[in-house]
Amino acid sequence: MQVPATFAYERAGSVPHALELLDRYGPDARVVAGGHSLIPMMKLRLAQPEALIDINGLSELAQLSVEDGELVIGSMVRHAELLAGAVATGPYPIFEDAERVIADPIVRNRGTVGGSLCQGDPSEDLAAVFAALRATAVIQGPAGVRKVPVREFHEGPYETAVGDGELLLALRVPILDGAGSAYEKVERRVGDWPVAAAGAVLQLDGGVIARAGIGLTAVGAEHFCAPEAEAHLIGKPPGAEVFAEAGRIAAEHCEPHSDQRGPADYKRHLAAELTRRALARAVERI
């Protein structure tokens, strides 16, 4: 049986209290939300934090709503909540596509949107989704609240813009009128991390692509996005050839690594193939 090393446990009663606890315990404290990444790592003793700050009681972080033309997803919103309601999946079916294939229902019942992003796993599905949507992360620290574009949020594998003593409060996603979105993932088995996955968001204007967002995960795409491929799409009418070319461009700019999910060349192929498919499905949904 796997058992973690000794740690202190604190339950935060409010965001200021959580920040105070983070300050008190310092950099060896970890915030626990759904715990579905952190707790297994602790049981395997790959992580040995001195203290856990439990933010499960912070209902102010569980908001899921539309404010000022923006979708606001609190960091404590559970995957299952995002999937169940139409608040996020209505304007952006990409959430439904992605959430349906994140882990399994048991994990989705507890795992949180903020936890997924803050874990910073290079194969995280939601990182690609928010990158495609050009979301903004809202972070609070001792110095106050700051906003970080999600394409600057991930600073490397397991490294994010959320510093010591800070807490991710929410993700804000601009709602684009008449946008289409989709997510395509290849996994070895349901619930597995992706071998590769791609998300796409498209908005047309006058029959040509006015806005394009492409998110990629598990393929070594910088900041989980594909700006060169997006640039290729702008101003062109949507179509199989232009999408295939965008996929090729996206794949060129990836740096996938071989592992037991597949060799690098296969993952690069998937980056192209899944980008193409996500774009095609996104445009069908406009």
């Binding site: 049986m1 058992v3 973690p4 003793r45 070895r188 088995r189 619930g191 071998v195 071989s258 998937l270």
Partner: protein, 782 residues
């Protein structure tokens, strides 16, 4: 009263969470053990410093190989007459090997103390790829064995080499195929573990352990540790899945026992998931080269096979002594051919020991996979439909009992009928038409067939044993005065539903409801000797023993009934579950009435004992030979390599079905296993011997999402060698299904000229195969 569907008696406790597993057992004063394991696949141990761990305030004992060497317990025999290190003394030989054992007041402290043990290793080159194990200059893994200068374990062969070679020389058509059955793991949801309680006052050792073979464990503990056998009690409570993983004795069990003897307190050790996957019995790891000789009409003449068998660092496979490759030589399958020959070479590598385990019926899984893949390769070569090719070569009903070219005596069957039923259920012709239409549109659809025959129920004791213990099993049946019965059997259920099935057998023989029969198993102090549950042997052996012992009770009841009726026993007949005077049903006496009389003051004839209890030992006259026809339909996405199993038709013939619902449950589980092995499961290793499948993130179990709604059918060919005509079925689907799935995927890829791909057929593997660049699935992907 008898055979048929009934809910499992054990479900009442399982669905309420009221089962009792080893980890549920808590004894006063119980301590907890944890094992320090090797991070290296191959390294010399320079030194071990346990002083800091011993100084931990909650640590009660630290045991190392040196401690055990002092007790002559550092090495223990394996189930294949090799030896295995309990705790390493000289070298570590696989990643995850046991190095030290800590006993502490709680699990957390035990685990913490592991980090305080300092081991200095001198890393050595590792042998990871079995194909290089016999190379000149390969590192010698087993230098502990006197004079051992290579990694060779055994060469073994079966069949008629000269006749087989002759047929190959004369053959109109031959095909050959290399194939790998990769290393997989049974991965029971309950991991292994033990709770040992040595009572210094009475000298009695009690071991709670999820073992599939409690009696064999008891005897081996007595032989190895020198403890008197009557002072050893092995209790195997509810088991959360075994699949062969829980047959042998693991170092942790011995450590828990030593820990209890050393500390004088009960010691519990439960392994974690990674320990289970990294160190306990694996399955398969067979590198096979198969050839088939046929004429142009597709009549097969001969099969020739060479196998390189990777046994890991210690030869620990569980199998009868005569058969180092298990029952692999049943590889001629379900077909009528003239000759066959196989050669198997076993080698050591720097991987965990084990083998056989995982519902394989002693290597029949490998044999079935081999022959069923070869049949498809031949079909492709000849341009003959795979169903038609099988139909031309299947054994005919009038050939039974049939002696195979490698010496097996198949018991019964109508193979063509079973295959026809499966083809009809699948709508085979329509599927082929659909496939043709899809191929014309560039879509990939595959149809795969597997027709398997197993040899299960080991076995006749003159041929089959485990470490010299013959594979016969006992049964005891007590009938209480009110006609309720208690059956005691030697085997142990890991979820197979023995408490129900065996009660039904007794009920059927004695005319009482199955609910009136309590089945006791899994406690060596409470049950007769026998070798346990694996290789689908429970119903063929213990189930037969149950029928036989129940018939003994019935015969005893006849004498008592005769006394009750003041008639001659010769004038009685058994009708509708009662003894009555021939032709006079009004005289009928039920078992309950007879049982009460047997315990009463009724005067019994001279020489007739009172009571009805009986005992037996069943030595099977032959194995039983279940078989089946499986058809799998898949769709493959050429852009991603993803495989979707759309349909799966499984027609099983396991002779008489005692409880069809339980049989179907066993088949469902085995089919899911097959999908898992075919599509996602493998334990691969990198060049340094790092285990690349040591958690459920990396070693994938299939879920309902990967499984179609199974379509089951049955034919019934009773076994003439079993008292109720039953055959084992626990492993049929695991044995038969991987070939059907792989054949379906390969069939889908036929437009690319592909004739074979190794398991697991992950999206990456399929895509690379389409691209003509398959990779070794058992090594690190680069």
């Amino acid at each position: 009263m008898s055979f048929g569907r009934m809910h499992r008696k054990e479900d009442a406790r399982f669905i309420r969470g009221r089962g009792t597993y080893v980890d549920d057992v808590k004894l006063p004063g119980m301590l907890h053990g944890a094992i320090l394991r090797s991070p290296y696949a191959h390294a010399r141990i320079v030194s071990i410093d346990t002083s800091a761990a011993e100084a931990h305030p909650k640590v009660k004992a630290v045991v190392t190989g040196a401690t055990l060497a002092g007790l002559n317990l550092a090495w223990m025999p394996t189930l294949s007459n090799d030896v295995q290190a309990v705790l390493a003394t000289d070298k570590v030989r696989f990643q995850g090997q046991e190095v030290a054992f800590v006993v502490a007041e709680d699990r957390y402290a035990a685990r913490d103390a592991l980090e305080l043990i300092e081991v200095e290793y001198e890393p050595l080159d590792a042998v990871i790829d079995a194909r290089t194990a016999l190379d000149a200059g390969a590192p010698v893994i087993r230098d502990d064995l006197e004079g051992k200068a290579d990694n060779h374990i055994f060469d073994w062969q079966a069949g008629d080499r000269a006749r087989t070679d002759e047929l190959f020389e004369r053959a109109e058509v031959t095909v050959a195929q290399d194939m790998l059955y990769p290393r997989v793991h049974p991965a029971p949801l309950e991991t292994c573990g033990a709770l040992a309680d040595f009572d210094k006052v009475t000298g009695k050792l009690t071991v709670w352990c999820p073992t599939q073979a409690p009696h064999a464990h008891r005897t081996l503990y007595a032989m190895v540790a020198g403890l008197p056998e009557h002072k050893i009690r092995v209790i195997s409570p509810d088991i959360g899945g075994g699949f062969g993983n829980k047959v042998g004795i693991y170092p942790g069990y011995v450590c828990a026992i030593v820990g209890s003897i050393v500390t004088g307190r009960p010691v519990k050790w439960m392994e974690d998931r990674s320990e289970n996957l990294m160190s306990t019995s694996f399955a398969r790891d067979y590198h096979m080269h198969g050839e088939i000789a046929a004429d142009r009409d597709g009549r097969i003449k001969a099969i020739r096979v060479k196998v390189l068998a990777d046994h890991g660092a210690f030869n620990g496979t569980a199998q009868p002594t005569k058969f180092p490759a298990g029952f692999f030589h049943v590889f001629t399958g379900s077909y009528d051919l003239e000759a066959a020959h196989c050669e198997v070479t076993g080698v050591y590598t720097n991987k965990a020991p084990g083998g056989v385990a995982y519902a394989c019926s002693f290597r029949i899984t490998e044999a079935v996979y081999l022959v069923e893949r070869l049949m498809d390769v031949l079909a492709a070569e000849l341009g003959v439909d795979p169903a038609e090719l099988r139909m031309r070569n299947l054994l005919k009903p009038d050939q039974f009992p049939y002696t195979s070219p490698t010496g097996w005596e198949y018991d019964s069957g109508d193979y063509p009928k079973t295959l026809r039923l499966a083809l009809d259920m699948a709508g085979y012709d329509e599927l082929r038409a659909e496939q043709a239409a899809k191929r014309a549109r560039g879509e990939l659809m595959g149809i795969g067939i597997s027709f398997f025959t197993e040899a299960v129920g080991a076995g006749p004791r003159k041929h089959m044993d485990i470490l010299g213990l013959g594979m016969a099993d006992g049964a005891e049946l007590r009938v209480h005065p009110t006609g309720k019965a208690v059956l005691r059997v030697s085997c142990q259920s890991q979820g197979q539903g023995h408490e129900t099935t065996f009660a039904q057998i007794v009920g059927n023989e004695l005319g009482i409801p199955a609910d009136d029969v309590e089945v006791v198993h899994g406690d060596t102090d409470q049950t007769p000797f026998g070798l346990g549950t694996y290789g689908s042997r429970s119903t063929p052996v213990s189930g037969a023993a149950t029928a036989v012992v129940a018939r003994k009770v019935r015969d005893r009841a006849k004498l008592v009934a005769a006394a009750m009726l003041e008639a001659s026993p010769d004038d009685l007949e058994w009708q509708d579950g009662k003894w009555s005077v021939v032709g006079d049903p009004s005289t009928a006496k039920s078992l309950a009435e007879i049982a009460l009389a047997a315990h009463s003051n009724l005067e019994l004839p001279e020489g007739v004992e009172g009571h009805l209890d009986a005992v037996t030992v069943y030595n099977p006259p032959n194995l039983t030979y279940p078989f089946g026809a499986y058809i799998c339909v898949v769709d493959v996405d050429p852009g991603t390599g993803q495989v979707k199993v759309r349909r799966f038709v499984a027609v099983d013939d396991c002779g008489v079905r005692i409880n069809p619902m339980i049989v179907e449950g066993q088949v469902h589980g085995g089919l899911a296993d097959g999908v898992g092995m075919a599509l996602m499961q493998v334990m691969a290793f990198d060049e340094d011997g790092n285990h690349l499948g040591a958690s459920f993130m990396d070693y994938l179990l299939p879920t309902s999402m990967e499984c179609p709604s199974w379509e089951l059918g049955e034919t019934v060919s009773p076994s003439p060698f079993h008292p109720i005509g039953a055959k084992g079925v626990g492993e049929s689907a695991t044995v038969g299904s991987p070939a059907a799935v792989v054949n379906a995927v390969v069939d889908a890829l036929a437009p690319y000229g592909i004739r074979h791909a190794d398991m697991p057929l992950t999206p990456a593997n399929v895509w690379r195969t389409i691209d003509g660049r398959p990779f070794r699935t058992d090594l690190a992907i680069s």
